[in-house]
Symmetry: none
Subunit: 190 residues, 4 copies
DNA sequence: GATGAATGAGCGTTCATTCAT
DNA sequence: TATGAATGAACGCTCATTCAT
């Protein structure tokens, strides 16, 4: 683990995300992080000026990264429902493949650390989804409700889907993800 | 002999629920609770033998209360969709009116305290909802999916609805709650 | 256990001696004593004005009782060595039969409570033994050493004998107690 | 990097031994130790991971040291009684010169801390004394009794001798220590 | 006299953070 | 930059004792 500079920062971040995933926030101690990264506790303070800073920096980074990543999704010229489904699947896969990171930001969101994250970061929204919803409404395919309502709902849906997969109640295959997608789709479709 | 103040236990519980709502579990300190109730920290230990006991006692009480309350709901002779909606509304209202308590048990559920709650309490489930889902499936009105999937989804929906109302994005009126109900209903209906 | 006045005081004392024997001083808590006597902790303070008072009262009582008891021993007109042995045996038996009480005062003696006992009690010595030693010296049968030295030694001897019996290394029978007596006697005899 | 003060650990140990000697175990508080060493209470935990660890580490160290020291005593070519006396005197002097340390281990032995000391340390016995007793028995010079009885007695004797010297009843000179030795010797000699 | 409630003072311990090198 | 030592500020909890009836 003993690397230089940027690598060390990276290592600290990864270890922290790992530990938050395994032990929850309450169980994350600076000394433990240091030990796992194989540095001294005081060295942590070379890279992050406090525990708050460590946590909220990671959260900020993750939030940015997540928004950006989804932004990169191809805006294909498929028919709306198919495009919608593709994006839905992208998100399901993204959450599954980034469990720890998602767990981290979910935990941050319901902790006092969340308030320490700059507002502009907290309000970052994937315009991808918003644009998509607008497109659907324009085509009369989805209900004409506030985007914030639809987005919140889809997000809850997504989270629940991932939880079900994590808990093995659902499997990550064509049939079952399609079922879940249809539940979401039926909810919002006109 | 000094008489035990019947309201003191109640006060401790309420203050604790309040603080968990505002600061989360991590932020609940015995000394702070005591201060808010205006008693000595050691007096807390007259009523609860430890912090664990305090938290899990409250959780146990709430869990019992919630299950019982919902159990008392009866809408047996209405047509299915109306019955379903009545129960949905009951839950929305219940969660709104017991925001802090619901927040408490939600937080407990994803904390180590949960394991301290007696299994028979943890396993209390509102058969109300499960029975309802079965009835709907029998009548061919709702999708033939696993109850655990449908229930998880409806629960996420419900939580999200309440959050939206809390954040003033939605209002707790006939029209808007109806809208939200329809989203849920459309998701699961056949 | 719930009796009146003198009996209650007695009960408190007995329970305390018991608990000191079982758990040592560190483990004796006022609340525990009260529980075992089946009274309220505050009632303890009706009988003893503090924990210090409780402990040192018991110690004082025991010390007095022990001195008095031995004083009552017949001053028979046996030849010296036999008389000496009889008294030795009396003490061995006394210690065995009053294990808990002896343990109590031994523990008190090496605790801060000892200083709280009135000096005149602490200095109580069994004149029985001192007289006996004087008699032996007069008869030229035992070494002409300071009584305090001889007494201390015999006491240590006695304690050790009792410990050995307690630990089953020795048995409380004619042969083995005689052996131990002879060790003591050989030590001090001229 | 701040260097660990080599003397600080030593200082903690010495202060602890001192306090146990003066106030007994019950009176030893981490905060008091820290104050006497002039460090913060939390610094204690840099050197010892708990109070139990502090006490039992000290006890372990002392036990090792004592056994080793006595082991180094060698008087192989003297006649038995002289050798025995030399060793007796060695122990008297050792106990006098290490009063506090001896008090410490004596107190530990009758406290719950004793169980925390590794068994192999607890079982360390000075074979010096046992070998000596065997040799004496072989030569027909001392009574043919169980070593555990003889050793227990000599130990009690020794302790009492040291107490008498401590209390100024006896002086640590040739004549008086000789007197005490003879008491012990007469007790066990054939 | 008897008692359950109440508490102040203190305890051992933890931990994010700073110090000193 | 890196670090082991050091620490202040808490924390959960205990317990002898007092309060109020």
């Amino acid at each position: 683990m003993k690397q230089k500079d940027e690598f060390k920062r990276e290592a600290i971040i990864n270890v922290t995300i790992d530990m938050v995933y395994t032990n929850g926030f309450a169980g994350v101690k600076m000394a433990q992080i240091a030990k796992k990264v194989d540095i001294s506790p005081s060295t942590l303070y070379v890279y992050f000026k406090s525990k708050n800073d460590l946590i909220s920096s990671i959260a900020t980074d993750l939030l940015k990264k997540i928004t950006q990543t989804s932004q990169n999704q191809m805006h294909s010229d498929l028919p709306f429902k198919l495009k919608f489904k593709a994006i839905w699947l992208f998100y399901v896969n993204f959450e599954i493949n980034n469990r720890k990171e998602m767990s981290f930001i979910n935990q941050v969101k319901q902790s006092p650390y969340y308030k320490m994250i700059p507002l502009e970061i907290r309000n970052l929204k994937s315009s991808l989804v918003l644009d998509l919803l607008d497109e659907g409404k324009r085509q009369g395919l989805i209900k004409n409700l506030d985007n914030s309502i639809l987005a919140a709902l889809l997000s809850a849906f997504l989270t629940e889907t991932v939880k079900l997969i994590d808990s093995k109640t659902l499997q990550l295959n064509e049939a079952e993800t399609n079922t879940m997608f249809l539940l979401a789709w039926d909810a919002i479709k006109n």
